[in-house]
Amino acid sequence: MIDSKLLRGSLDTIILKLLDEHHEMYGYEITQKVKELTSGEIKITEGALYPALHRLEGKGILSTDVRSVGNRMRKYYTLTESGKTEVTTQLNAMSEFFNSLNLILNPKIA
């Protein structure tokens, strides 16, 4: 399983990318989707996920909608217009970071 310290810096990007692809998602669904896509290698804890979601909501990157589902309420997250721009920025930044990291970790290939 991937170290949570490594995950910390990329959590926002993961959330934004998933919301970009799935339009709207709720917290539990995000944790399950990440687990499924990475075959259980990445597990996002609730203690990391919700503060990140609230932080992104606070920045105006995400908007929310609370809807009734059966006998309880569920909060759905979607990207705002500025959030859609943010996805591209974050993905480009992450890609540049991986390329640079690769230059350090695999100098021979580079």
Partner: protein
Amino acid sequence: MENKLNDKQVQDIFDFTAKKYVLYYDVQLELVDHICLRVEELMNQKEELSFEEALHKTYKSLGVFGFTKIQEEKSIQMNKYWGRKTLQYLTMYLKPPRLLMILLISLLLYNSLLVIQDLSEWLKVSIIVLISLMPILMILSHSWKWKNGHMADNKRLLIVESLFNHCVSLMALMQIGFQIVIQLGSYTLSPWLMALISLLVTLQYVLTYAVVHVFPVWLQDDLQKDYAHLIDIKDYVTGC
């Protein structure tokens, strides 16, 4: 057959989050749904697992500071939200012709301060304190009404309480600014100080107008969007 939690079990999870110091319904709501889904998943994976066991297992996986951290981040987000709304109000409001009106009111106030210059020290101070305290009292009384709003079952909402805290902070900031200006002149008012006081007091009243007439409408819109099932909406603004 898939396990689905019944109403009582959902309520038990609400009570459980409250016991773990998640005090606000708008924070609980999201956590409760998350815990319910996890508990259901565990009970479906292992049929002999009881609800209580599944809940205990779920809570253990959250970590000791799980709930506290979530509520803290939500509070920070709400403070930023109302800060942005105040800025939005000011940029919306401080435009011509309103800006001109504000300058005219400041000028009127400036002239009134010129008149009171000749009064005795204590009378002068009393008048200044009174005009600076009036908006504070209005802000306090209105935001207090929101705080003790019209929630069903006395539910507490962070969005409402953070607006109350925001209004109190605004009030404190304005008062600190006002006191600094007053103390600078030790109650002997130079024309510059009088102009500054006039502007500050006018701004205080502009923000008071927002607290009394604008923020309740915005709060109502937000509440109606997400928590309409909890609130007697029709009374919310008129009740302020």
